[in-house]
Amino acid sequence: MNHRLSGNEAVAYAMKQVNPDVMGAFPITPSTEIPEYFAKYVANGEVNTEFVLVESEHSSMSVCIAAQAAGARAVSATSSCGLALMYELLYVAASCRLPITLACVNRALSGPININADHSDSMGARDSGWIQIYAENNQEAYDNFIMAMPIGEHPSVRLPVMTCMDGFITSHAVENIELLDTDVVRKFVGEYNPEHYLLKKENPLAVGPYGISAYYMEQKVMQAEAMKAAKARILEVAAEFARISGRHYGLLEEYKMEDAELALVLIGSTAGTAKAAVDKLREGGVKAGLVKIRVFRPFPGEELAQALGKTKAVAVMDRSEGFSANGGPVFAETRSALYDLRERPHLINIVYGLGGRDMKVEDIEKIFARLADIAATGEIGPVYTHMGQRSREEKV
Protein backbone atom coordinates (compact mmCIF):
# COMPACT_ATOMS: atom_id res chain seq x y z
CA MET A 1 0.00 0.00 0.00
CA ASN A 2 1.44 3.36 -1.02
CA HIS A 3 0.63 6.29 1.21
CA ARG A 4 1.89 9.72 2.13
CA LEU A 5 2.46 10.12 5.85
CA SER A 6 4.53 12.15 8.27
CA GLY A 7 7.01 10.23 10.43
CA ASN A 8 4.80 10.70 13.48
CA GLU A 9 1.71 9.41 11.71
CA ALA A 10 3.70 6.49 10.31
CA VAL A 11 4.77 5.46 13.82
CA ALA A 12 1.26 6.00 15.23
CA TYR A 13 -0.06 3.88 12.37
CA ALA A 14 2.48 1.14 13.15
CA MET A 15 1.29 1.27 16.78
CA LYS A 16 -2.30 0.93 15.61
CA GLN A 17 -1.41 -2.09 13.51
CA VAL A 18 0.38 -3.70 16.45
CA ASN A 19 -2.57 -2.86 18.76
CA PRO A 20 -0.53 -2.84 22.01
CA ASP A 21 -2.19 -3.52 25.36
CA VAL A 22 -1.17 -0.27 27.03
CA MET A 23 0.11 3.16 26.02
CA GLY A 24 1.50 5.58 28.58
CA ALA A 25 0.83 8.93 26.93
CA PHE A 26 2.15 12.40 27.60
CA PRO A 27 2.64 15.11 24.98
CA ILE A 28 5.89 16.88 24.14
CA THR A 29 6.97 18.52 20.90
CA PRO A 30 7.76 17.07 18.38
CA SER A 31 6.41 13.64 19.44
CA THR A 32 2.98 14.93 20.56
CA GLU A 33 1.27 13.81 17.35
CA ILE A 34 1.99 10.16 18.09
CA PRO A 35 -0.28 9.93 21.17
CA GLU A 36 -2.62 12.40 19.43
CA TYR A 37 -3.15 10.17 16.40
CA PHE A 38 -3.30 7.16 18.66
CA ALA A 39 -6.00 8.76 20.85
CA LYS A 40 -8.15 8.98 17.70
CA TYR A 41 -7.65 5.28 17.03
CA VAL A 42 -8.71 4.56 20.61
CA ALA A 43 -11.75 6.85 20.36
CA ASN A 44 -12.76 5.26 17.06
CA GLY A 45 -12.50 1.79 18.52
CA GLU A 46 -9.79 0.84 16.00
CA VAL A 47 -7.57 -0.49 18.81
CA ASN A 48 -8.39 -1.89 22.23
CA THR A 49 -5.35 -0.39 23.91
CA GLU A 50 -5.61 0.91 27.48
CA PHE A 51 -4.67 4.55 26.78
CA VAL A 52 -3.33 5.96 30.05
CA LEU A 53 -3.09 9.76 30.20
CA VAL A 54 -0.59 10.72 32.86
CA GLU A 55 0.86 13.89 34.37
CA SER A 56 4.48 13.52 33.23
CA GLU A 57 6.90 11.37 31.27
CA HIS A 58 8.21 9.96 34.54
CA SER A 59 4.71 8.55 34.92
CA SER A 60 4.21 7.47 31.32
CA MET A 61 7.30 5.29 31.55
CA SER A 62 6.19 4.08 35.00
CA VAL A 63 2.87 3.04 33.44
CA CYS A 64 4.75 1.12 30.76
CA ILE A 65 6.97 -0.61 33.33
CA ALA A 66 4.02 -1.68 35.47
CA ALA A 67 2.01 -2.83 32.45
CA GLN A 68 4.87 -4.77 30.89
CA ALA A 69 5.69 -6.41 34.23
CA ALA A 70 2.03 -7.40 34.52
CA GLY A 71 2.35 -9.22 31.22
CA ALA A 72 1.06 -6.57 28.83
CA ARG A 73 2.70 -5.05 25.78
CA ALA A 74 3.35 -1.37 26.51
CA VAL A 75 4.40 1.53 24.30
CA SER A 76 5.09 5.23 24.67
CA ALA A 77 6.46 8.16 22.72
CA THR A 78 8.50 11.15 23.80
CA SER A 79 11.16 13.72 22.95
CA SER A 80 13.91 15.78 24.51
CA CYS A 81 13.13 16.88 28.10
CA GLY A 82 10.42 14.21 28.20
CA LEU A 83 13.04 11.53 27.69
CA ALA A 84 15.22 13.27 30.27
CA LEU A 85 12.36 13.12 32.78
CA MET A 86 12.08 9.37 32.09
CA TYR A 87 15.78 8.89 32.75
CA GLU A 88 15.47 7.04 36.07
CA LEU A 89 12.74 4.79 34.67
CA LEU A 90 14.71 3.98 31.51
CA TYR A 91 17.22 2.23 33.75
CA VAL A 92 14.45 0.50 35.72
CA ALA A 93 12.80 -0.78 32.52
CA ALA A 94 16.11 -2.10 31.16
CA SER A 95 17.33 -3.66 34.40
CA CYS A 96 13.95 -5.31 35.04
CA ARG A 97 14.36 -6.66 31.50
CA LEU A 98 10.99 -5.33 30.37
CA PRO A 99 10.79 -5.08 26.57
CA ILE A 100 8.85 -1.82 26.34
CA THR A 101 8.86 0.00 22.99
CA LEU A 102 9.43 3.75 23.01
CA ALA A 103 9.26 6.03 19.98
CA CYS A 104 11.80 8.78 20.57
CA VAL A 105 11.40 11.77 18.29
CA ASN A 106 14.82 13.35 18.59
CA ARG A 107 14.91 16.94 19.78
CA ALA A 108 17.56 19.12 21.38
CA LEU A 109 17.77 19.26 25.15
CA SER A 110 17.60 22.61 26.93
CA GLY A 111 19.13 25.06 27.07
CA PRO A 112 18.63 27.39 25.47
CA ILE A 113 15.21 25.83 25.15
CA ASN A 114 14.78 24.59 21.59
CA ILE A 115 12.28 22.29 19.92
CA ASN A 116 14.24 21.23 16.85
CA ALA A 117 16.19 18.17 15.89
CA ASP A 118 19.40 16.87 17.33
CA HIS A 119 20.35 13.66 19.11
CA SER A 120 21.26 15.03 22.53
CA ASP A 121 18.16 13.45 24.11
CA SER A 122 18.64 9.83 23.04
CA MET A 123 22.45 10.05 23.14
CA GLY A 124 22.10 11.01 26.80
CA ALA A 125 20.23 7.73 27.32
CA ARG A 126 22.66 5.63 25.30
CA ASP A 127 24.05 3.87 28.36
CA SER A 128 20.68 3.14 29.97
CA GLY A 129 20.49 -0.43 28.64
CA TRP A 130 17.95 0.25 25.88
CA ILE A 131 18.38 -0.96 22.34
CA GLN A 132 18.49 2.13 20.11
CA ILE A 133 17.51 2.02 16.43
CA TYR A 134 17.63 5.22 14.37
CA ALA A 135 15.61 6.00 11.24
CA GLU A 136 16.76 8.00 8.26
CA ASN A 137 13.25 8.66 6.95
CA ASN A 138 9.55 7.95 7.52
CA GLN A 139 9.68 4.50 5.96
CA GLU A 140 12.45 3.45 8.32
CA ALA A 141 10.65 4.99 11.31
CA TYR A 142 7.62 2.83 10.47
CA ASP A 143 9.65 -0.30 9.74
CA ASN A 144 11.86 0.06 12.83
CA PHE A 145 8.86 0.34 15.11
CA ILE A 146 7.35 -2.86 13.71
CA MET A 147 10.66 -4.69 14.15
CA ALA A 148 11.17 -3.40 17.71
CA MET A 149 8.93 -5.85 19.57
CA PRO A 150 10.15 -9.07 17.95
CA ILE A 151 13.67 -7.91 18.83
CA GLY A 152 13.13 -6.75 22.40
CA GLU A 153 10.68 -9.44 23.49
CA HIS A 154 12.79 -12.39 22.36
CA PRO A 155 13.88 -14.52 25.37
CA SER A 156 17.55 -14.18 24.37
CA VAL A 157 17.23 -10.38 24.56
CA ARG A 158 14.44 -9.14 26.87
CA LEU A 159 15.44 -5.50 26.59
CA PRO A 160 13.43 -2.34 25.92
CA VAL A 161 13.76 -0.78 22.48
CA MET A 162 13.90 2.91 21.59
CA THR A 163 13.15 3.69 17.95
CA CYS A 164 14.45 7.15 17.09
CA MET A 165 13.75 9.61 14.29
CA ASP A 166 14.75 13.23 13.78
CA GLY A 167 12.27 15.76 15.13
CA PHE A 168 10.37 17.74 12.43
CA ILE A 169 12.74 16.67 9.64
CA THR A 170 11.36 13.14 9.84
CA SER A 171 8.50 13.43 12.32
CA HIS A 172 6.61 16.21 10.53
CA ALA A 173 7.73 16.01 6.89
CA VAL A 174 5.25 14.07 4.75
CA GLU A 175 6.84 11.45 2.50
CA ASN A 176 5.75 8.57 0.33
CA ILE A 177 5.63 5.42 2.39
CA GLU A 178 4.78 1.77 1.86
CA LEU A 179 2.58 0.39 4.61
CA LEU A 180 2.13 -3.29 5.29
CA ASP A 181 -1.29 -4.86 5.68
CA THR A 182 -2.41 -4.91 9.30
CA ASP A 183 -2.86 -8.69 9.40
CA VAL A 184 0.70 -9.08 8.06
CA VAL A 185 2.02 -6.78 10.80
CA ARG A 186 0.05 -8.59 13.52
CA LYS A 187 1.31 -11.94 12.35
CA PHE A 188 4.88 -10.64 12.15
CA VAL A 189 4.82 -9.07 15.62
CA GLY A 190 2.79 -11.92 17.15
CA GLU A 191 1.35 -12.16 20.64
CA TYR A 192 3.38 -11.13 23.67
CA ASN A 193 3.73 -14.29 25.73
CA PRO A 194 6.37 -13.76 28.43
CA GLU A 195 7.26 -16.78 30.52
CA HIS A 196 6.90 -14.82 33.77
CA TYR A 197 4.52 -11.94 34.50
CA LEU A 198 2.78 -10.49 37.52
CA LEU A 199 -0.75 -11.56 36.51
CA LYS A 200 0.26 -15.21 36.18
CA LYS A 201 -1.58 -16.25 39.33
CA GLU A 202 -0.31 -19.82 39.45
CA ASN A 203 3.26 -18.52 39.76
CA PRO A 204 3.65 -15.42 41.96
CA LEU A 205 6.49 -13.17 40.80
CA ALA A 206 8.55 -10.41 42.40
CA VAL A 207 9.87 -7.78 39.96
CA GLY A 208 12.68 -5.33 40.69
CA PRO A 209 13.98 -6.57 44.05
CA TYR A 210 16.84 -4.85 45.85
CA GLY A 211 20.19 -6.03 44.53
CA ILE A 212 22.93 -5.83 47.14
CA SER A 213 26.59 -5.73 46.10
CA ALA A 214 26.67 -9.52 46.05
CA TYR A 215 24.06 -9.60 43.26
CA TYR A 216 24.14 -6.26 41.39
CA MET A 217 27.21 -6.97 39.31
CA GLU A 218 25.88 -10.33 38.12
CA GLN A 219 22.70 -8.57 36.96
CA LYS A 220 24.73 -6.03 34.98
CA VAL A 221 26.70 -8.83 33.33
CA MET A 222 23.40 -10.46 32.33
CA GLN A 223 22.21 -7.18 30.81
CA ALA A 224 25.50 -6.80 28.95
CA GLU A 225 25.20 -10.33 27.60
CA ALA A 226 21.62 -9.66 26.49
CA MET A 227 22.78 -6.53 24.66
CA LYS A 228 25.47 -8.56 22.89
CA ALA A 229 22.88 -11.21 21.99
CA ALA A 230 20.60 -8.51 20.59
CA LYS A 231 22.89 -8.05 17.57
CA ALA A 232 22.07 -11.49 16.19
CA ARG A 233 18.38 -11.09 17.00
CA ILE A 234 18.20 -7.71 15.24
CA LEU A 235 19.62 -9.29 12.09
CA GLU A 236 17.30 -12.29 12.39
CA VAL A 237 14.26 -10.00 12.67
CA ALA A 238 15.53 -7.87 9.77
CA ALA A 239 15.75 -10.99 7.61
CA GLU A 240 12.18 -11.97 8.54
CA PHE A 241 11.06 -8.40 7.87
CA ALA A 242 12.66 -8.45 4.43
CA ARG A 243 10.48 -11.43 3.57
CA ILE A 244 7.24 -9.57 4.33
CA SER A 245 8.29 -6.12 3.09
CA GLY A 246 11.08 -6.55 0.54
CA ARG A 247 13.05 -3.96 2.52
CA HIS A 248 16.48 -4.95 3.82
CA TYR A 249 18.07 -3.67 7.01
CA GLY A 250 21.34 -4.31 8.78
CA LEU A 251 22.98 -2.95 11.91
CA LEU A 252 24.38 -0.28 9.64
CA GLU A 253 23.93 0.72 6.03
CA GLU A 254 26.90 1.03 3.71
CA TYR A 255 26.32 3.42 0.83
CA LYS A 256 28.78 3.20 -2.06
CA MET A 257 31.46 1.85 0.27
CA GLU A 258 32.82 -0.96 -1.97
CA ASP A 259 35.72 1.15 -3.24
CA ALA A 260 35.28 4.27 -1.09
CA GLU A 261 38.41 6.10 -0.01
CA LEU A 262 36.64 8.97 1.72
CA ALA A 263 33.69 8.25 3.97
CA LEU A 264 31.27 9.66 6.49
CA VAL A 265 29.82 7.92 9.51
CA LEU A 266 26.51 9.35 10.63
CA ILE A 267 23.07 8.70 12.09
CA GLY A 268 19.56 9.74 11.08
CA SER A 269 18.04 11.98 8.45
CA THR A 270 21.29 13.67 7.41
CA ALA A 271 22.23 10.36 5.78
CA GLY A 272 19.70 11.21 3.05
CA THR A 273 21.37 14.56 2.40
CA ALA A 274 24.79 12.96 2.52
CA LYS A 275 23.80 10.28 -0.01
CA ALA A 276 22.88 13.05 -2.45
CA ALA A 277 26.32 14.58 -1.88
CA VAL A 278 28.02 11.20 -2.35
CA ASP A 279 26.16 10.70 -5.66
CA LYS A 280 27.24 14.15 -6.83
CA LEU A 281 30.87 13.55 -5.88
CA ARG A 282 30.85 10.11 -7.50
CA GLU A 283 29.78 11.75 -10.77
CA GLY A 284 32.92 13.87 -10.45
CA GLY A 285 35.06 10.77 -9.90
CA VAL A 286 35.53 11.13 -6.14
CA LYS A 287 35.51 7.77 -4.37
CA ALA A 288 33.09 8.90 -1.69
CA GLY A 289 30.82 6.74 0.46
CA LEU A 290 29.06 6.72 3.77
CA VAL A 291 28.12 4.43 6.61
CA LYS A 292 24.82 5.11 8.31
CA ILE A 293 24.62 3.64 11.78
CA ARG A 294 21.11 2.28 12.15
CA VAL A 295 21.58 0.43 15.42
CA PHE A 296 23.58 2.46 17.94
CA ARG A 297 22.87 0.13 20.89
CA PRO A 298 24.15 -2.54 20.63
CA PHE A 299 26.99 -0.76 18.83
CA PRO A 300 28.07 -2.52 15.62
CA GLY A 301 31.78 -2.00 16.29
CA GLU A 302 33.19 -4.92 14.30
CA GLU A 303 30.88 -4.28 11.37
CA LEU A 304 31.85 -0.61 11.34
CA ALA A 305 35.57 -1.42 11.46
CA GLN A 306 35.10 -3.77 8.54
CA ALA A 307 33.15 -1.17 6.54
CA LEU A 308 35.81 1.50 7.10
CA GLY A 309 38.87 -0.76 6.92
CA LYS A 310 39.86 0.18 3.40
CA THR A 311 39.13 3.91 3.52
CA LYS A 312 41.77 6.63 3.72
CA ALA A 313 39.95 9.39 5.59
CA VAL A 314 36.70 9.36 7.52
CA ALA A 315 34.59 12.10 9.09
CA VAL A 316 32.42 10.95 11.98
CA MET A 317 29.37 13.17 12.30
CA ASP A 318 27.81 13.80 15.68
CA ARG A 319 24.41 15.45 15.99
CA SER A 320 24.91 15.94 19.73
CA GLU A 321 27.71 17.62 21.60
CA GLY A 322 28.48 15.37 24.50
CA PHE A 323 30.83 17.91 26.07
CA SER A 324 33.62 15.44 26.56
CA ALA A 325 36.01 18.06 25.10
CA ASN A 326 37.31 15.12 23.08
CA GLY A 327 34.58 14.62 20.45
CA GLY A 328 30.97 13.46 20.31
CA PRO A 329 29.61 10.03 21.29
CA VAL A 330 29.49 8.60 17.74
CA PHE A 331 33.11 9.64 17.27
CA ALA A 332 34.19 8.05 20.54
CA GLU A 333 32.52 4.76 19.64
CA THR A 334 33.80 4.78 16.06
CA ARG A 335 37.37 5.60 17.01
CA SER A 336 37.27 2.84 19.61
CA ALA A 337 35.87 0.37 17.05
CA LEU A 338 38.70 1.14 14.60
CA TYR A 339 41.49 0.69 17.15
CA ASP A 340 41.83 -3.03 16.43
CA LEU A 341 42.35 -2.52 12.70
CA ARG A 342 45.89 -3.08 11.49
CA GLU A 343 45.60 -0.14 9.15
CA ARG A 344 43.29 2.63 10.19
CA PRO A 345 41.93 5.55 8.18
CA HIS A 346 42.53 9.11 9.33
CA LEU A 347 39.60 10.14 11.48
CA ILE A 348 38.00 13.49 12.22
CA ASN A 349 34.91 14.40 14.17
CA ILE A 350 32.35 16.98 13.09
CA VAL A 351 29.61 18.08 15.46
CA TYR A 352 26.75 19.51 13.39
CA GLY A 353 23.04 20.18 13.23
CA LEU A 354 22.51 21.06 16.89
CA GLY A 355 19.06 22.42 17.75
CA GLY A 356 17.88 21.97 14.15
CA ARG A 357 20.81 23.75 12.45
CA ASP A 358 20.51 22.86 8.78
CA MET A 359 22.95 20.60 6.96
CA LYS A 360 22.94 20.96 3.17
CA VAL A 361 24.40 18.92 0.33
CA GLU A 362 27.05 21.64 -0.17
CA ASP A 363 28.06 21.36 3.51
CA ILE A 364 28.63 17.63 3.09
CA GLU A 365 30.68 18.33 -0.05
CA LYS A 366 32.88 20.65 2.01
CA ILE A 367 33.50 17.84 4.48
CA PHE A 368 34.50 15.51 1.65
CA ALA A 369 36.84 18.22 0.31
CA ARG A 370 38.50 18.32 3.70
CA LEU A 371 38.75 14.51 3.75
CA ALA A 372 40.33 14.57 0.26
CA ASP A 373 42.89 16.99 1.59
CA ILE A 374 43.64 14.80 4.60
CA ALA A 375 43.96 11.70 2.39
CA ALA A 376 46.33 13.51 0.03
CA THR A 377 48.56 15.18 2.60
CA GLY A 378 48.25 12.93 5.65
CA GLU A 379 47.75 16.13 7.65
CA ILE A 380 44.65 15.73 9.80
CA GLY A 381 44.49 19.20 11.32
CA PRO A 382 42.04 19.72 14.17
CA VAL A 383 40.36 16.39 14.96
CA TYR A 384 37.29 17.63 16.78
CA THR A 385 35.43 20.53 15.19
CA HIS A 386 31.94 21.98 14.87
CA MET A 387 30.19 22.83 11.63
CA GLY A 388 27.40 25.23 10.75
CA GLN A 389 27.97 27.75 13.54
CA ARG A 390 28.61 31.42 12.77
CA SER A 391 32.23 32.13 13.43
CA ARG A 392 34.89 34.78 12.88
CA GLU A 393 37.16 31.99 11.81
CA GLU A 394 37.07 30.32 8.44
CA LYS A 395 34.52 27.50 8.12
CA VAL A 396 35.31 23.77 8.03
Binding site: C96, R97, P204, E218, Q219, M222
Partner: protein, 102 residues
Protein backbone atom coordinates in the same frame (compact mmCIF):
# COMPACT_ATOMS: atom_id res chain seq x y z
CA UNK B 1 13.04 -22.38 37.26
CA UNK B 2 15.43 -21.55 40.09
CA UNK B 3 14.04 -21.19 43.59
CA UNK B 4 15.13 -18.35 45.92
CA UNK B 5 16.54 -20.81 48.47
CA UNK B 6 18.92 -22.11 45.81
CA UNK B 7 20.33 -18.64 45.10
CA UNK B 8 23.12 -17.35 47.30
CA UNK B 9 26.22 -15.16 47.16
CA UNK B 10 28.15 -17.91 45.41
CA UNK B 11 25.67 -18.39 42.55
CA UNK B 12 27.30 -17.60 39.18
CA UNK B 13 25.56 -15.01 36.97
CA UNK B 14 24.60 -17.69 34.46
CA UNK B 15 22.31 -19.28 37.06
CA UNK B 16 20.62 -16.08 38.26
CA UNK B 17 17.28 -14.83 36.93
CA UNK B 18 16.90 -12.00 34.39
CA UNK B 19 16.03 -8.74 36.13
CA UNK B 20 16.66 -10.50 39.47
CA UNK B 21 13.09 -11.79 39.23
CA UNK B 22 11.91 -14.01 42.06
CA UNK B 23 9.46 -16.70 41.03
CA UNK B 24 7.77 -17.34 44.38
CA UNK B 25 6.12 -15.30 47.14
CA UNK B 26 7.22 -14.58 50.70
CA UNK B 27 10.95 -14.99 50.20
CA UNK B 28 11.72 -12.05 52.56
CA UNK B 29 11.25 -14.59 55.38
CA UNK B 30 14.44 -16.32 54.34
CA UNK B 31 16.63 -13.20 54.65
CA UNK B 32 18.19 -11.99 57.86
CA UNK B 33 17.44 -8.27 57.98
CA UNK B 34 17.57 -8.13 61.78
CA UNK B 35 21.29 -7.44 61.63
CA UNK B 36 20.54 -3.76 60.89
CA UNK B 37 19.20 -3.42 64.43
CA UNK B 38 20.91 -0.94 66.78
CA UNK B 39 18.40 -1.25 69.66
CA UNK B 40 16.62 -4.41 70.68
CA UNK B 41 13.20 -5.03 72.26
CA UNK B 42 13.03 -7.58 75.06
CA UNK B 43 9.83 -9.53 75.69
CA UNK B 44 8.80 -10.16 79.30
CA UNK B 45 6.29 -13.01 78.92
CA UNK B 46 5.15 -12.88 82.56
CA UNK B 47 3.91 -9.28 82.14
CA UNK B 48 2.19 -9.82 78.77
CA UNK B 49 -1.65 -9.94 78.70
CA UNK B 50 -1.70 -10.84 75.00
CA UNK B 51 -3.78 -7.78 74.17
CA UNK B 52 -2.18 -7.92 70.66
CA UNK B 53 -1.70 -4.16 70.41
CA UNK B 54 1.97 -4.55 69.56
CA UNK B 55 1.35 -6.94 66.65
CA UNK B 56 -0.33 -4.59 64.14
CA UNK B 57 1.97 -1.73 65.19
CA UNK B 58 5.07 -3.69 64.20
CA UNK B 59 6.10 -2.21 60.82
CA UNK B 60 7.75 -5.51 59.93
CA UNK B 61 6.46 -8.96 60.82
CA UNK B 62 8.71 -9.48 63.80
CA UNK B 63 6.05 -10.44 66.38
CA UNK B 64 4.81 -13.96 65.69
CA UNK B 65 1.38 -14.98 66.96
CA UNK B 66 0.22 -18.52 67.60
CA UNK B 67 -3.15 -19.66 68.97
CA UNK B 68 -4.08 -16.15 70.06
CA UNK B 69 -0.84 -15.57 71.94
CA UNK B 70 2.15 -13.53 70.91
CA UNK B 71 5.47 -15.30 71.01
CA UNK B 72 8.97 -13.94 71.50
CA UNK B 73 10.37 -11.55 68.89
CA UNK B 74 11.53 -12.73 65.50
CA UNK B 75 14.99 -11.19 65.79
CA UNK B 76 15.86 -12.22 62.26
CA UNK B 77 13.49 -9.51 61.01
CA UNK B 78 13.16 -7.03 63.93
CA UNK B 79 14.80 -3.66 63.11
CA UNK B 80 14.58 -2.43 66.71
CA UNK B 81 12.41 0.62 65.97
CA UNK B 82 10.86 0.45 69.46
CA UNK B 83 7.26 1.14 68.41
CA UNK B 84 6.09 -2.05 70.16
CA UNK B 85 7.66 -0.96 73.45
CA UNK B 86 6.04 2.46 73.05
CA UNK B 87 2.52 1.10 72.48
CA UNK B 88 2.61 -1.75 75.02
CA UNK B 89 0.23 -0.79 77.92
CA UNK B 90 2.05 -3.18 80.26
CA UNK B 91 5.68 -3.56 81.26
CA UNK B 92 5.97 -6.46 78.82
CA UNK B 93 8.42 -4.91 76.34
CA UNK B 94 11.57 -2.98 77.19
CA UNK B 95 14.31 -1.71 74.91
CA UNK B 96 18.00 -2.37 75.40
CA UNK B 97 20.85 -0.68 73.58
CA UNK B 98 22.67 -2.67 70.96
CA UNK B 99 21.66 -4.97 68.17
CA UNK B 100 23.13 -8.26 69.27
CA UNK B 101 21.76 -8.44 72.78
CA UNK B 102 18.41 -9.79 73.83
Amino acid sequence: MISAKDINEHTPWQDLTPGAEIYEPGTARAFNTGNWRTNTPVFHAEACKHCMLCVPFCPDSAIPVKDGKRLDFDYMHCKGCGICAEVCPFPAITMVTGGAGK
